[in-house]
């Protein structure tokens, strides 16, 4: 580890915080339905969309209507994307002449992009036409993030409103999230990315005759417009197979900083917006502090493990000071590769600028654990905030048990129904991850997947279902996922991780919104101070540890021990 490395990490976090505070204030206004500086431009578009769709934004929905509306909207998006991928061969903007996707791959990919996962069992440059990338994948990059943001705002309203029946209008929330937050940020940052070197063209590939006389096909396309929203929406699906390690997606150190900033900024801003919307900015800062402590620790652990290198590399005669450069790009180095890995999984992004499967066992365990902790540090757009608030409900419940009082959070009494629903939501992740991993580790169709032998092979399976159920999308890339077994089961894990979590979470919102908001009394456990931050951090670690430590012991931890003993598989 170097001082310059740490300074780079600190600089990116600093730039995120500097932008997230004002962006959060702006988002709080947008979601309160107030006028903003962008209203003169976007207001007419917004109203035209409402009138075409027959939406009256003032007519609000209860939690069930809101949730059903979200499900119908996502189902429509899935159907369209599936059709586009299957019919790719007859669609325009296909300069390379790619054919349609097979049914299981199209199903997996459509589920993947609708659930904000962006697990990719295909290589973009040799599979997807420009039409599929733009009209299919780019659109769902926006809409899945807007869906997450809308749901988070609905849950925040359940806390901020007193004795109400409604949590908002789902179509208005999705429309506002897209138009006022995601689209302007994407437009501006996509152009910055082009300036830094990312291609943006409708032409197909260029064939170069290399200096030594060989042929090299340079795959081009509308890259910048897609990768801007891929990062801002914490989607993570690359235009190219190598994702943000590909020099066209991420040409240099500045573009790398920009992509990390893009990943973090909307989710972080949403935490600031949360503080404003519940009328107590300290509440937002406390939640952010818990996220920050865990995320910075994770970056540090990954940076340390990757800087340490491996016995294999040192034994071959490599300079130990260089760290583990297998799967990493020279222009990013160890520090910014480690930071990217921790951030992409602390969020639910899943873009990679270095190959996690070639990380050291402990360095690769960091992103895996961050996914298993629920991707709430600060998590995906919307999904991070509502995930963290569910954990906060459990935290005040535990605190209430310890002191023998009815727990409250943000003035709302937390009672049996909320805790039951929170537990139901929390259990989705371990059930999907451990269940599917266990089956895949014993049946032939599952065992055919891993490309590495030994404990690393189990890590590949465990990482895949963690990534799918956690809606992350990154991978230990040696797993051959484009098989019927993995296409279908990973898609099911993605659907469970997204929607089986959302329904109980929204039931909590429905239960809370009708309750009166109580003023804090001397008996109220304060949820804006260091004690609560510590409690939240503890609950996150205890939950994750209890659920996943046994599986981790068989995968990355066993591999670390074998590696130190000099074993190769």
């Amino acid at each position: 580890m170097t001082l310059v490395g740490w300074l780079q990490i600190a600089l990116v976090f600093g730039l995120v915080l500097a932008a997230a505070a004002p962006l959060g204030a702006f988002m709080a206004k947008v979601h309160a339905g107030e006028r903003t500086v962008l209203s003169p431009v976007l207001g007419p578009i917004e109203r035209r969309l409402y009138s075409a769709a027959g939406v009256d934004p003032a007519r609000e929905q209860g939690w069930l209507g809101y949730t059903l509306g979200m499900l119908v909207f996502n189902a429509a998006g899935f159907a369209l994307l599936y059709a586009i991928l299957r019919l790719q061969g007859v669609m325009p903007f296909n300069p390379q002449g790619f054919g349609g996707l097979a049914p299981d791959l199209a199903f997996n990919t459509a589920v993947s992009f609708v659930t904000n996962t962006n697990w990719q069992n295909y290589a973009g440059e040799s599979t997807m036409s420009h039409f599929s990338q733009m009209a299919g994948l780019t659109v769902q990059n926006f809409l899945s993030a807007a869906t997450g943001m809308a749901l988070a705002v609905a849950l925040v309203r359940a806390f901020s409103r007193s004795g109400a029946a409604t949590v908002g209008n789902v179509f208005a929330d999705i429309t506002r999230s897209t138009l006022y937050v995601l689209l302007p940020l994407a437009l501006v940052t996509a152009l910055i990315q082009v300036a830094l070197g990312t291609p943006q063209t409708l032409d197909g590939s260029v064939v170069a005759t290399t200096v030594e006389g060989g042929q090299q096909t340079l795959a081009l396309g509308p890259v910048a417009s897609q990768i801007a929203i891929k990062q801002l929406g914490t989607n993570g699906g690359g235009f190219f197979n190598a994702n943000a390690a590909h020099p066209f997606e991420n040409p240099n150190a500045l573009s790398n900083m920009l992509t990390i900033w893009q990943m973090l900024v909307v989710s972080t801003a949403l935490v600031f917006a949360f503080g404003r919307l519940v009328g107590d900015k300290r509440q937002g800062r406390a939640v952010l502090a818990a996220m920050g402590i865990l995320l910075v620790t994770a970056v540090g652990l990954c940076y340390w493990a990757e800087s340490a290198g491996t016995p294999l590399l040192a034994g071959a005669g490599l300079d130990p000071a260089g760290g583990n450069m297998e799967g990493k790009e020279v222009r990013f180095g160890i520090a910014m590769s480690a930071m990217f890995a921790a951030v992409t999984t602390g969020l639910s992004d899943g873009a990679v600028n270095a190959m996690h499967g070639s990380f050291t066992p402990l360095g690769g365990m960091v992103p895996m654990v961050l996914i298993q902790l629920g991707e709430i540090l600060p998590g995906g757009v919307g999904s991070g905030l509502y995930g963290m608030l569910v954990v906060a409900i459990l935290a005040v419940f535990v605190a209430g048990l310890m002191v023998g009082r009815t727990p409250e959070y943000l003035g709302k009494k937390i009672e049996a129904k909320e805790v039951k629903m929170a537990m139901l939501a929390i259990l989705v992740l371990p059930a999907a991850i451990l269940g599917f991993s266990a089956v895949s580790a014993v049946i032939p169709a599952g065992l055919a997947g891993p490309g590495n032998a030994g404990p690393h092979g189990l890590s590949e399976i465990l990482y895949a279902y963690s990534s799918a159920a956690g809606n992350n999308g990154s991978a230990f890339g040696s797993l051959s996922g484009n098989t019927t077994w993995y296409n279908i089961t990973l898609a099911v894990a993605m659907l469970l991780g997204r929607f089986a979590y959302i329904v109980p979470m929204m039931a909590i919102a429905g239960s809370l919104v009708v309750k009166p908001r109580l003023a804090a009394s001397s008996g109220t456990f304060p949820t804006h101070g260091p004690l609560f931050v510590g409690l939240l951090v503890g609950i996150i670690l205890v939950l994750g540890g209890l659920q996943f430590f046994p599986a981790l012991a068989l995968g990355p931890i066993a591999e670390h021990v074998e590696m130190q003993a000099g074993t190769l598989f």
Binding site: E60, G163, L220, A453
Partner: protein
């Protein structure tokens, strides 16, 4: 409590609540957003990018004698001794622009150990002694890494100088001059882009 909040908290659900009532807004919005986000947005970015940043928007192509010989951002294969060589690549057969990929081999992989062993042997055959730079025998994440570390470029100087019949000091000076420093001495890693360095060497002969 403000007036807006009082109105809001007294609201009863009167928006659509059933699946059927929500089908129209859902379908219309998905279609409308496909037009806006799937066409208007990327085409607007394309239009502006092509007008303002035509070189970058088209892949930062490098031409010599009116032929496209590569991209300044994408590494390519060099095997001849008179050229500086890039890192090992796992993209297809090596630097395949249609198959970007890392090796995805783990730290306890026998295959990785064998591959690195071969690369190290090749370096030793070139007369390189001592510890090797970490990037010299490891494959990048993309398989298209255009850069090498300054250390890896420097250990290739004797071979390149000998093959071209140039003084080592001259070649070393070219490498030093080709090192791209971190922005503000902070952002990024010091690195050498292999393609322009090799083109500069070729230009000496012309």
């Amino acid at each position: 409590m403000t007036l807006a909040q009082r109105i809001e908290t007294s609201a009863q659900p009167d928006g659509p609540s059933t699946l059927t009532a929500q089908a129209r807004p859902a379908i219309v919005l998905v279609a409308a957003f496909t037009l806006l986000l799937g066409f208007a947005y990327p085409l607007a970015v394309t239009g502006i990018a092509q007008a303002v940043f035509p070189v970058e928007a088209n892949g930062s192509l490098v031409t010599r004698d009116a032929t496209v010989i590569g991209s300044a951002l994408i590494g390519q294969t060099f095997t001849r001794p008179e050229y500086f060589q890039p890192r090992p690549s796992a993209a297809g057969a090596g630097y395949d622009g249609l198959a970007s990929s890392g090796s995805n081999l783990g730290p306890t992989s026998q295959k990785l150990s064998d591959r690195i062993g071969e690369s190290v042997a090749a370096q030793r055959a070139d007369g390189v002694t001592g510890t090797l730079p970490a990037d010299a025998v490891t494959a990048s994440g993309s398989g298209l890494d255009p850069h090498v570390s300054p250390d890896y470029a420097l250990i290739q100087v004797p071979r390149v100088a000998k093959a071209r019949g140039l003084p080592e000091a001259d070649v070393r000076a070219m490498v030093t001059g080709a090192v791209e420093a971190p922005v503000f001495g902070l952002i990024g890693e010091p690195r050498v882009n292999v393609l322009p360095l090799n083109l500069a060497l070729d230009a000496l002969d012309r």
